[in-house]
Amino acid sequence: MLDDMDRRILRHWQADAGLTPAELADLTGLTAGKVSRRIVRMQEAGVVQGVAAVVDWAALGYTVEVSLRITLDKTQGNAFDRFLDEARKLPEVIEIQTFLGRVDVRLSVIARDMAHYQQIYRAGILTLPHIADIEALMHVARIKSDEALPL
């Protein structure tokens, strides 16, 4: 299990994922070697999964982002699996989430502009199997996006 020092390391590392073990050592008062050993232990325990670069799709020209909230026709036995298999094949779908609640599935879809979005929506999304209802939320701005855990 994690102790308070592990959590301190994670808090600093989470706030700036580019920090090296030596920098984390300065912030926590440990030696770099001790920080590295703790990090390896947390990686082996599956607590730390890695460090990923954050890609800004808008800077890549994908300026439209739409959140599609989808209700599936659950009278069809394998509606979830069949829908998810097909949704994964659409390159403009960057995120798939399933829920317990009013909505079954949410897709994050990106597009270069509204005309491109329209094309993806008609040719890609509307042909996915077992959709009962779709609601769209158009993304305006990202106010907070660090996804930090309250450790």
């Binding site: 590392w13 325990a45 959140s67 609640g101 769209a136 907070k144 660090d146």
Partner: protein, 153 residues
């Protein structure tokens, strides 16, 4: 917008998987020298395409068993300052992301909690008391996948 070639696309994909790789290691993989790889990474950062790094943690292993997405509608449009709402909601530690959206809801929040009882506490004490918060819809996350997106091939 800067123009990107196939090597840039592979570089972005590779860093999105693991951003701890050195320019030397990435370069060997892509058939580039270490300085050439470093220059490409710098260029992608300066263009805002690579926007920093994110530590990926296992929520469940850290005791956060519940993730809920909330759709929040503001109760009194025009009377409440969006900035006040945004500042207050962003300051809640359990709120991981805040997105301003157009449609059925005004804001979309991602909230983590230890369990459903803990979530109820956050919802009642922190979210429902926000300035301007109106109707709220909650959906509990069951599964999540992030895909590589349209960066080709």
């Amino acid at each position: 917008m800067i123009s990107l070639d196939e090597v840039d696309h592979r570089l972005i994909r590779s860093l999105a998987r693991d951003a701890t790789q050195s320019a030397g290691a990435l370069g060997r993989h892509l058939g580039l020298s270490q300085p050439a790889t470093w220059r490409r990474i710098k260029r992608l950062e300066e263009a805002g395409i690579l926007r920093g790094k994110r530590l990926r943690l296992n929520r469940e292993a850290l005791g956060f068993g519940v993730t809920v997405f909330l759709g929040v509608k503001l109760a009194t449009k025009g009377r409440v300052s969006l900035e006040d709402f945004e500042r207050a909601v962003s300051a809640i530690p359990e709120v991981q992301t805040v997105e301003h959206v157009l449609g059925l809801y005004d804001y979309r929040l991602r909230v983590v909690a230890r369990d459903l009882a803990d979530f109820e506490r956050v919802l009642r004490r922190r979210i429902m008391t926000l300035p301007g918060a109106g109707a709220v819809e909650a959906n509990v996350l069951l599964s999540e996948e992030r895909l590589t997106g349209p960066l080709g091939l």
